[in-house]
């Protein structure tokens, strides 16, 4: 988890049971090297989004503003600082967003970057910075008019179903589904977690059979006729 105003991340374990409370003293806290290039001068324009790629054992992170930035890093040994890198320049001029609020990895290795102010999801290949796709979240509202305060702040992805989850600060939650979703072959390989170059665990994604019966057949036929599928 990031602490935006402290420009650092905390790694901790959540056990089972409820209620539970976790104190920061139980977390491993990591700061970033100056060479990482984070904006540490402005309290509330810092680390807004964090994602973990189980296929590579690396993390991705976005900085909200001044300037909008994308970082990648691996967890170093405890007690040392993180040296993050920016594999591409997430500039407003290139990508048309004025801030970044969230990031999540897709099984393909691409990342989804969420912009609060621009109400947009971007799919980007982090290795090249290529813009793969964009999605206008404002269009998800009936009539095309989003609420006055949409403020999407968080994005998550379910690799088994392809569903995209968006959390909006004013207590709203959205689920976006792609009925054509297919889990990429390379994502079925055993992912891993790497800390300080050491493999620490593994997890396997399993494709889950998803009941899509609630999608209207009539709507599907109409969409195909219109050439939208």
């Amino acid at each position: 988890m990031t602490e935006e105003r402290r420009d650092r991340i905390a790694v901790f374990e959540i056990g089972s049971g409820s209620p539970i409370t976790i104190d920061i003293s139980a977390a491993q806290v990591y700061t970033f090297s100056a060479a990482s290039g984070l904006n540490t001068a402005t309290d509330n324009f810092g680390l807004e989004g964090l994602s973990y790629n189980p296929s590579t054992g690396t993390f991705a992170m976005v900085q909200e503003k001044s300037s909008v930035a994308f970082f990648e890093f691996s967890l170093p040994a405890v007690g040392t600082v993180i040296n993050a890198t920016s594999p591409f320049n997430l500039s407003a001029a290139t990508y048309g967003i004025t801030d970044a609020a969230g990031v999540v990895h897709l099984p393909s290795g691409n990342v989804l970057i969420l912009s609060d102010e621009s109400e947009t999801l971007l799919e980007i290949d982090p290795a090249t910075g290529d813009l793969i796709g964009t999605f206008d979240l404002g269009a998800t509202h009936p009539g095309g008019s989003p609420p006055a305060s949409y403020q999407p702040e968080g994005v998550a992805f379910n690799p088994a179903t392809g569903d995209i989850y968006v959390l909006s600060e004013p207590d709203a939650f959205y689920v976006l589904s792609n009925p054509n979703y297919v889990l990429p072959e390379r994502a079925r390989a055993e992912p891993r977690l790497v800390v300080d170059g050491r493999r620490c665990g593994s997890i396997a994604f399993r494709r889950r059979r998803v009941d899509r019966a609630h999608y209207s057949p009539r709507a599907r036929r109409a969409s195909r006729r219109d050439g939208r599928w």
């Binding site: 988890m1 990031t2 602490e3 935006e4 402290r6 790694v11 901790f12 374990e13 959540i14 409820s18 209620p19 976790i22 104190d23 680390l47 989004g49 964090l50 973990y52 189980p54 993390f59 992170m61 969230g102 990031v103 999540v104 393909s108 989804l112 799919e123 793969i132 796709g133 999605f135 998800t140 509202h141 009936p142 702040e153 968080g154 992805f157 690799p159 392809g162 989850y165 968006v166 600060e169 004013p170 207590d171 709203a172 939650f173 959205y174 689920v175 976006l176 792609n178 054509n180 979703y181 297919v182 990429p184 977690l193 665990g201 997890i203 994604f205 999608y215 209207s216 709507a219 599928w229």
Partner: protein
Amino acid sequence: MFVLVPGQALPWCGFHWRQSLRLRHGWRHLSTRQESISEAILILLLARIDTGAPLSQDGSGLTFNPVSSTLYVVRNSGPERIFEMDAVSNVLRTIGITGFQDTEGSPISAAILLR
């Protein structure tokens, strides 16, 4: 431009609607497949305006846990908290966190792997 496709209400959630979307002219569709594709259409399955009062309009981060198929919502103030919820936004438990400040995005699935 977008095109709405009529759909019936989903029975398993409260306030909701459903629509298929056509992206703005000149924009490309998101690809969540192995190859970049143009036919992907994202469908809004659920728009629930109440994720549970505990968020208090301070939701700041979201992550999916592939082990439990649940989501973790991070609240960044008032005070900082983590809420575990299911995919239709029912809050399953509240996790208190102390000593943290302005908590944001949370790749909690990684922490689970450390166990």
